[in-house]
């Protein structure tokens, strides 16, 4: 039995269980905590894909910063137990059915692909997915998009303050 396959199976099952908890939990705070565990298990899967840097960013930015923001807002709003289930309207039933339909189509389509990971030489193995190689790509080929993202984050920060502030 392949140890990589076993690890993948464990992480995949835990990811799907946590994601299911996110969409079924009654209170938003339970959803948020389930989402944090989903991000951690996904980071494990990223490591299996040799994407160590993205896994670290996932834990730091997603499970750290973004989820703290979510929890902060949930506690700020103080929703209490008013979280009732929405009535099953026609739109909602059709939406759920279309999500299941998309899943069926994707599973059938992806099941037909025979995809094997590339066999990398020892030279490529040493650099694949490291911080150095990703940084080199970003700061040479993708420098302008990188700067655009920094501008986007600044605009989002200012916009969030403007929108959330009660009186300017």
């Amino acid at each position: 039995m392949n140890i990589e396959l076993v690890l993948f199976g464990v992480f995949a099952v835990m990811t799907l269980l946590s994601a299911g908890l996110v969409i079924t939990a009654r209170s938003p705070i339970n959803s948020a905590m389930a989402l944090v565990s989903t991000f951690f298990f996904l980071a494990g899967i990223y490591v299996l894909l040799w994407a160590h840097t993205v896994a670290v960013i996932q834990v730091l930015v997603y499970a750290g910063a973004i989820m703290v923001l979510f929890l902060f807002v949930i506690m700020l709003l103080n929703l209490g137990d008013a979280a009732h289930r929405g009535r099953p309207t026609v739109t909602r039933i059709l939406g759920g059915a279309s999500a299941l339909g998309l899943l069926a189509v994707l599973v059938v389509t992806l099941g037909r692909i025979d995809a094997q990971p590339a066999r990398l030489g020892p030279q490529a193995q040493a650099t694949f997915g490291t911080m150095a190689s990703i940084g080199e790509t970003i700061f040479t080929t993708w420098l302008l998009p990188f700067e655009a993202v920094s501008l986007l984050l600044l605009v989002a920060m200012v916009g969030a303050v403007v929108v959330a502030k009660s009186r300017i």
């Binding site: 799907l16 840097t53 994707l106 990971p117 590339a118 490529a124 993202v149």
Partner: protein, 100 residues
């Protein structure tokens, strides 16, 4: 080696669970969390294809997706706070001013 198909199937399942939550849940905060689930599924697809081709470009794409998701979360949560302040609810069924 795990075939890339398994990772793609996991990403498809995750994406559809996020889509299901977006379309079915009524709490705006949970809807946002489901959008994050969908973004993560797309990230997983990027990384799986990067591993399949032995090309680091997918990692850069995932990095950009995470950065944009951070901006989206900040703006979206600010809008949720503003709506809650004026309507007293985060239920997407109650917010129907822009319908019709």
């Amino acid at each position: 080696m795990v075939p890339i198909t398994y990772y793609l199937l996991l990403a498809a399942a995750l994406f559809c669970m996020g889509m299901f939550g977006v379309l079915v849940r009524t709490n705006a905060l949970v809807v946002f969390m489901c959008v994050e689930l969908m973004l993560n599924a797309v990230n997983l697809t990027f990384l799986a294809f990067a591993r399949m081709h032995g090309d680091g470009m997918g990692h850069v794409s995932a990095f950009f997706v995470i950065a944009v998701a951070a901006a989206e979360a900040a703006i979206g949560l600010a809008i949720v706070i503003a709506v809650f302040r004026s309507r007293g609810s985060v239920n997407v069924d109650d917010i129907r001013t822009m319908k019709h």
